[in-house]
């Protein structure tokens, strides 16, 4: 037996004639962490979906432990290939432990399910991940980050030989990422091989042994992580030099555009008060489940507040539905892209103009105008798509995120709430989005910026609100915006203690 | 409940076309009449949309401790076991129209399904002078329909010069009758007469014929004796010259028989003490001469 777990020979994949992967030849060693990076739409997810049997390659061969296999989902499972997919692969109607053991249930007497055993094991797995989630909780009641932790636990629960992780950290805070990395190291020690995909080049560089770079579906290079730094990675990914990541911060005005006073939501938010100034980027930081998403949802009228008031431009407003939010020029970019953000069976144009459809309608929809507008966004954000009529389910994750962003933007808001805006977006596109936010605030638009990436928060925000279990624990300004102080307020303990 | 209270359960198919609508109407009429006449009588009237539902209704009646059951069975065989059970519990059984497969009823009051087919065929044959092309619109494919159609066909077979061009189910529905007739009119260049078996269907048929602008059809025959068609006959309509009865009022007769049996009354002019065990209502031919006697303007059918 060779030292390689997986080998591919001349792998290529076409979707209705469009070649999205071309001639990929790689060998992945047993027990290594193999990173894959590349721009949005480079073909990373497609590649691993060939390995785990979701797609069949158009050309080429896959060897697993030296056997040439025609992969299928069933075979992959049997051979010990497990995946944490980019989009959630959880059954909303089932609860946590049922999801974790879906397709691989423990049984008693070879007939009945052994629920207790599965529950117990689930608690163990989650504990290993430093997460407390009730194994009997329904998936639909979990926050996005919690779902991500369940996905991780699910992949770990199986006896894997190959564990594939497609952007597992996009909604996780540094705290969880750290836990995950420790877990990965343990798994590797046990002889498990890991493929790791992420747009966080720092993380990739830190955790991976070797890194493959893809560009436009083509192989660029494989490097030892030790031999390459982040900047080089980014440049080779994009194929040109990248410059400064974060644009300069814009001085906000004194005027409040949004005031939130003593806002309460039963069981979720506790006496939240803050204000947002015109032209400001106001960051929201905190650990998983801190309640940031809930706060945003309350402001746009999805959740009912039990008490408190919201003022827009100094005037008290009752915002009890997203329609009212849009009327008050508030836009929201949700973190749960496929759950609440985009319609996967709608095309790009219909998605982008869904909220702002009014703009394009006199009596009938002006299809020409909507198409022009979506073409504008496709250029602006460099959205990779075969055509304007492509349904979103056929776009890569990052490109879906860009469409989601365009959709919220097209309402021409005065206040924009971004919830994890860079989720699944490549470095280059991140920069574009940061620059775009910069342009927004320059033109007097105010932004609430919820992110779990401290670097982004620090790089982008004028002030940072830190939350912990539904309460605001601190509002940081100026030089106080640093990793240490944010983490202190987020966890309640000094660094190093956790 | 008073000691001399008499409880009578009446169950009939639910009103799913004109004739069954008539059944419901006549059942209510009879119950109203009897309740006015005799305060000791308590009636329960239940419709049923399928044989199985009707079995439930009879079961429920038994819980209510009825003394007599008047039933127009949805289908014969499926109702027989439960009615038999009722009879065994001492309940007096009046079976109307659709007989049971075992002799469990005390009185059987029936319309004459084969008779309807036979009388219709005989009249049509004589009007056609034993020669011509006819089309048939049947009811819903089921036992009653088969009885009528089979009897009709048997008679027509004796006339070698009468051709049945086509025979399709119109489900006792006016709209369906209209559609089927539209199709017939496209399909057949020349039709001499139409047998629709049911007056509801006949209405649709006449409509289609009128719209087609053709004038080859010599006459139409419906069935069951709805008041509209009887009226046309009475007024001497050249196309609708006759009708054959299958009166929904038979249920009222059945109810009366049940009441009389309970009260121990005899039939007027009847020299026997007990009521007869079978009463078969003739399928009567209604023509312009006698139509007035069959016209009930206040009935729903």
């Amino acid at each position: 037996m060779s030292e390689f777990l997986v080998r591919t020979e001349n792998i290529a994949k076409e979707f209705s004639g469009v070649r999205v992967l071309d001639d990929i030849n790689i060998k992945i060693k047993k027990g290594e962490i193999f990173g894959i990076i590349g721009e949005n739409g480079a073909g990373k997810s497609t590649f691993i979906k060939i390995l785990n049997g979701i797609y069949n390659q158009t050309e080429g061969e896959v060897y697993f432990e030296d056997d040439n296999v025609k992969m299928s989902v069933q075979k992959a499972k049997k051979m010990g290939i497990n995946t944490i997919p980019q989009e959630f692969n959880l059954i909303n109607d089932l609860n946590v432990y049922e999801n974790i053991y879906l397709g691989q249930e423990y049984q008693k007497n070879r007939l009945l399910l052994d629920k207790n055993k599965m529950r117990k094991k689930t608690v163990e797995f989650l504990k290993e991940l430093n997460t407390e989630i009730d194994p009997n909780e329904k998936i639909s009641n979990l926050s996005v980050a919690q779902k991500q932790m369940v996905e991780i636990a699910k992949a770990v629960a199986y006896n894997s030989k190959l564990l594939i992780m497609d952007e597992p950290t996009t909604v996780l805070t540094p705290f969880e990422v750290k836990t995950l990395f420790e877990l990965m190291k343990n798994l590797v020690k046990k002889g498990i091989t890991i493929i790791y995909i992420s747009h966080n080049l720092k993380e990739v560089n830190e955790i991976c042994d070797r890194i493959m770079i893809l560009r436009d579906g083509k192989f660029v290079c494989i490097e030892n992580a030790a031999d390459i730094n982040e900047e080089e990675m980014a440049n080779r990914m994009v194929g040109r030099e990248l410059n400064q990541m974060f644009p300069p911060k814009v001085q906000e005005s004194k005027e409040n555009i949004l005031e939130v006073n003593n806002l309460n939501v039963e069981g979720v938010l506790d006496n939240i008060s803050f204000n947002l100034k015109k032209g400001e980027v106001l960051g929201f930081s905190g650990l998983v489940g801190a309640g940031r998403t809930e706060l945003a949802e309350t402001i746009i009228g999805i959740r009912e507040m039990s008490s408190g008031e919201i003022k827009v431009n100094g005037e008290k407003k009752l915002i009890n539905s997203p329609t009212k939010a849009v009327k008050n020029n508030i836009a929201y970019l949700p973190e749960d892209r496929q759950g609440v953000g985009i319609l996967t069976n709608f095309n790009i144009t219909s998605n982008i103009t869904l909220i702002s459809l009014e703009k394009y309608t006199k009596f009938l929809i002006n299809h020409k105008k909507t198409k022009e507008q979506s073409r504008y966004y496709i250029d602006q954000f460099n959205i990779q798509t075969p055509s304007l009529d492509t349904e979103l389910q056929y776009l890569s994750g990052g490109n879906q995120q860009k469409v989601s962003l365009a959709k919220s933007l097209d309402t021409e808001p005065k206040i924009f709430i971004f919830d994890e805006p860079t989720r699944g977006i490549d470095v280059n596109a991140k920069m574009e989005i940061f620059n775009f936010i910069h342009e927004l605030v320059q033109s007097g638009i105010s932004c609430i910026f919820i992110s779990s990436e401290l670097e982004e928060i620090i790089g982008m925000c004028n002030r940072v609100v830190v939350m912990r279990s539904g309460k605001i624990t601190g509002i940081l300004e100026g030089e106080h915006i640093n990793e240490e102080e944010i983490m202190y307020h987020a966890t309640g303990v000094k660094r190093g203690v956790i | 409940m008073a000691a001399d209270e008499i409880r009578i359960g009446v169950t009939i198919p639910s009103a799913d076309h004109g004739w069954t609508g008539g059944i419901v109407y006549w059942a209510q009429e009879a119950i109203e009449d009897w309740e006015a006449k005799n305060p000791n009588l308590t009636f329960f009237l239940e419709t049923a949309d399928s044989p199985a539902t009707q079995v439930s209704v009879v079961e429920d009646f038994m819980v209510k401790e009825i003394d007599a059951l008047v039933i127009l069975a949805h289908d014969s065989a499926p109702l027989t076991p439960i009615v038999k059970q009722a009879a065994e519990e001492g309940i007096y059984i009046v079976s109307v129209d659709r007989g049971l497969t075992e002799p469990v009823s005390d009185i059987y009051v029936a319309g004459d399904n084969p008779g309807l087919g036979r009388v219709s065929a005989e009249w049509m044959a004589s009007e056609l002078n034993g020669k011509g092309d006819i089309v048939v619109l049947e009811g819903i494919p089921c036992v009653i329909n088969s009885q009528r159609v089979d009897a009709f066909n048997k008679v027509i077979k004796q006339y070698s010069d009468i051709n049945i061009l086509d025979s399709q189910p119109a489900n006792w529905s006016t709209q369906r009758g209209l559609e089927i007739m539209e199709n017939y009119l496209q399909k057949y260049e020349k039709i001499d007469a139409v047998w629709a078996q049911d007056d509801d269907v006949l209405k649709g048929v006449l409509q289609a014929y009128e719209e087609s602008g053709r004038d080859d059809i010599k006459f139409f025959l419906g069935g069951a004796g709805s008041k509209d068609i009887i009226k046309m006959v009475m007024e001497g309509d050249p196309l609708v010259r006759a009708d054959v009865t299958y009166p929904p009022s038979m249920i009222a007769t059945g109810i009366s028989m049940g009441v009389k049996a309970m009260l121990g009354e005899k039939l007027d002019g009847f020299y026997q003490n007990k009521l007869p065990s079978e009463i078969i209502l003739r399928a009567e031919l209604v023509t312009e001469e006698n139509a007035e006697d069959y016209y009930y303007p206040e009935s729903v059918f």
Binding site: P322, L343, L357 | A15, G21, E138, T174, Q186
Partner: protein, 326 residues
């Protein structure tokens, strides 16, 4: 040379392969059925027969157009058949009350439309306001509407006394029956609404993913509600046309089975039961397919007992043609 032919051959296969079966499936099914019917029966292609089919189709067809919206929004309406009878009864009663002249016809139509909309709104209200499953609500109102019809009429017919009223259902304009014109006109209207207005777009969004629609500031309940109002309105049109055609409405028989016919037309027309997208023109085609099947069963004189088998097979077959590849 040989080479070129080969390439041509290949491209034809490619063209056939690339036909968007999901989109043109219904049309293809219709074409196949049409061609078979033309050969199978000499009467099929007669002008009169074709217009007959169209008129026969128009009653459930018009309802099916409205049902398209309901199904796209991931709902269902089982009450349409009973509603047809009830509204029809109301139309005839109104007509008789006002004497049966042109003015009475006008009033009767207005009243009919009004009640159609009210009944549809009743369905929509319970479904959206109280969040009860559409299947249950409309199963309930199916029973309620029929029962009210029977109650009002005493299980008999509603008979119009007007001699003018039938002109509407029987009349022709430019060689086509009036109901057919209305069917075609509504198809165009609803097709425009579905594809070119905000409302249509929102109906698709709601059916595709209710949560996303809600986050996109779409008034989900309102959109849903109006799909049932549309169906009610269309049912009212059918009621007027049907009662005019027969100059009466049978309380027990009118409209029975319309719900299944209408839903079948929608699905044969390519709209998925799960909602999210669909086509109004497809529904029209679906309704015509069903009409042709019924017509051919009579024309060919298939045994009454076996007509159901043939009909069932054709319905399944029509959808089989347009099935999605996995």
């Amino acid at each position: 040379m040989n080479d070129k032919i080969k390439r041509n051959n290949k491209s034809i296969i490619n063209i056939l392969k690339n036909i968007d079966f999901e989109k043109y499936g219904p049309l293809l099914a219709l074409l196949i059925l049409f061609i078979i019917s033309s050969f199978a029966s000499p009467y099929f292609l007669k002008m009169r027969n074709l217009t007959n089919i169209l008129r026969q189709v128009s009653y459930t067809g018009i309802i099916a157009l409205g049902m398209t919206f309901v199904i796209i929004s991931a709902g269902i309406d089982l009450s349409v058949g009973s509603m047809t009878a009830l509204v029809g009864g109301i139309v005839v009663l109104t007509l008789n009350y006002f004497g049966g002249g042109y003015f009475a016809i006008f009033i009767a139509i207005i009243v009919g439309m009004f009640f159609g909309i009210i009944f549809g709104a009743f369905n929509g209200l319970i479904i959206t306001k109280w969040n009860v499953a559409p299947f249950i609500v409309t199963l309930g109102t199916m029973s309620i509407f029929r029962s009210l019809t029977l109650y009002i009429s005493g299980a008999s017919e509603f008979r119009s006394t007007s001699s003018l009223f039938p002109q509407l259902g029987m009349g022709y304009i430019l060689g086509l029956p009036i109901p057919v014109w209305i069917l075609l006109g509504l198809t165009v209207l609803y097709s425009v609404i579905l594809n070119h207005t905000k409302y249509g777009r929102y109906v698709c969004a709601v059916g595709s993913n209710e949560k996303v629609a809600k986050y996109s500031a779409i008034k989900v309940k309102m959109i849903r509600f109006f799909t049932y109002v549309i169906v009610g309105f269309n049912v009212a049109i059918t009621s007027v046309l049907l009662s005019s055609r027969l100059n009466s409405i049978s309380s027990s028989g009118a409209g029975t089975g319309y719900e299944l016919d209408a839903i079948a037309a929608v699905i044969i027309g390519g709209t998925a039961m799960s909602g999210g997208s669909g086509s109004v023109v497809g529904t029209l085609i679906g309704a015509i397919i069903l009409g042709i099947v019924n017509n051919m069963l009579n024309m060919l004189g298939v045994s009454p007992y076996l007509q159901g088998t043939v009909k069932g097979l054709v319905i399944i077959g029509a959808v089989l043609i347009q099935r999605k590849k996995d």
